[in-house]
Symmetry: C2
Subunit: 240 residues, 2 copies
């Protein structure tokens, strides 16, 4: 049987009984056709992965019993991805890739050149859960509400460093920023069309903001998000 | 008017007349509603981008006249992406991202765990052209025919270095390989499920093969392709 993985919003410990939502019961018992005694892998974002047995299987609910931890908790370093929502499929893609590559939070932000003024926060959160379930993760990044970039920067935590992609840096020789261990970070990705001149000026004036170049070719916003996060994890995150 | 960009399979020089295919004429004159005297940006993969004027506009054909070069040719470094085709949408995604991030060739390869035995080479090539048109590129990577990985390695050019993602390297401390300037490279990405044990053994035994770790989380094949190519461009390519 394929290894079925399920995210639950419930404590996990040996002997712990986990009630299932209607959607979870439908997925496990109607779609995947599991029954009492079958096992699934369950994680909650903080207690690692647990092997759980089905103890009750109904059409509208059911429950699992946690038996043993099957994998330790792997929580990403303290980095958040701030991005300007774009077309639906590419926004979904950014959320999926951020969950795979490893971030703590996913923060949609409205910039001067952002077209969309609303996002479906619940749908994006469900997408992040699915990505973690499918990729063997034990952590699900929290999808935050859409906020204006100017509002975000007004209340910015002075300790949190910002990596931002500056298209005007193309061809510039620029070393990757260094950081002290454990410093919190944020990665800022602009919309198609990039940040406005005013936004770039504001970012450049922040002592904790570090520009990075992503090469001589123009990248789509979703590609830039994956590339910037890859470089961050490689240099400053848990890939080394 | 939006900057319309068109890839043509024709020489480009001042005063050069460029005949249009039926599909190109349909796109320019029926879809985008251009007429004689309007300008478009044209590139052919080797002569940079050229501003061209419409000199003849018909339902089934037409022609452009190259006026002036508007951007220099930017050809990616000599790196090829070898990947095992996966589901259609994710294969399309790999081709699009490879064209954006910059590779010379895109080489579908059949591995022990590859499900698909056929690819639509023409459709993937069209997808690479579209990615270059939309992202302001002047180069279109060539999409090669599907080949078996074992056949590829039997005839491998001894000078071409290989970067491959070794999932068993997770958590290993491993420096990024260095290289002499101008060395040709290839990036190998396995399918979902990774390379087989036999394939990994064969790669590891090659003196020109260099394993790389992409962190403690399991990445989908398409994510691994973008991440590996990003690291290659950052360390060994034209991003610095």
């Amino acid at each position: 049987m394929a290894n079925i993985r399920l995210f639950v919003d419930h404590a996990l410990a040996a002997g712990q009984l986990i009630p299932l939502t209607r959607e979870q019961a439908h997925y496990l018992f109607s779609v995947m056709r599991l029954g009492v005694g079958d096992t699934v892998t369950v994680f909650n974002g903080s207690d690692g992965a647990w092997s759980c047995a089905v103890v009750e299987a109904g059409k509208k609910g059911g429950s699992l019993m946690a038996e043993a931890q099957s994998a330790p908790q792997v929580t990403p370093p303290d980095v958040a991805l701030y991005f300007a929502p774009i077309k639906k499929a590419r926004t979904d893609f950014i959320v999926e890739k951020a969950a795979e590559l490893g971030v703590r939070q996913i923060c949609p932000m409205q910039t001067d050149f952002t077209n969309s003024e609303r996002i479906r926060q619940d749908r994006l959160q469900a997408h992040a859960v699915e990505a973690a379930e499918q990729c063997g993760g034990t952590y699900v990044p929290e999808v935050m509400a859409l906020q204006k970039m100017s509002t975000l920067l007004n209340g910015w935590d002075a300790a949190r460093q910002i990596l931002f992609c500056d298209e005007t840096l193309v061809d510039a020789q620029k070393a990757f920023p260094t950081a002290t261990q454990g410093q919190p970070w944020a990665i800022f990705i602009g919309p198609e069309g990039g940040f406005s001149e005013a936004e770039r000026d504001r970012l450049r004036a922040l002592p904790q903001a570090h520009p990075v170049s992503l090469g001589p070719r123009v990248l789509r916003a979703d590609t830039a998000a994956v590339a910037a996060l890859t470089l961050w994890q490689h240099h400053l995150g848990d890939w080394q």
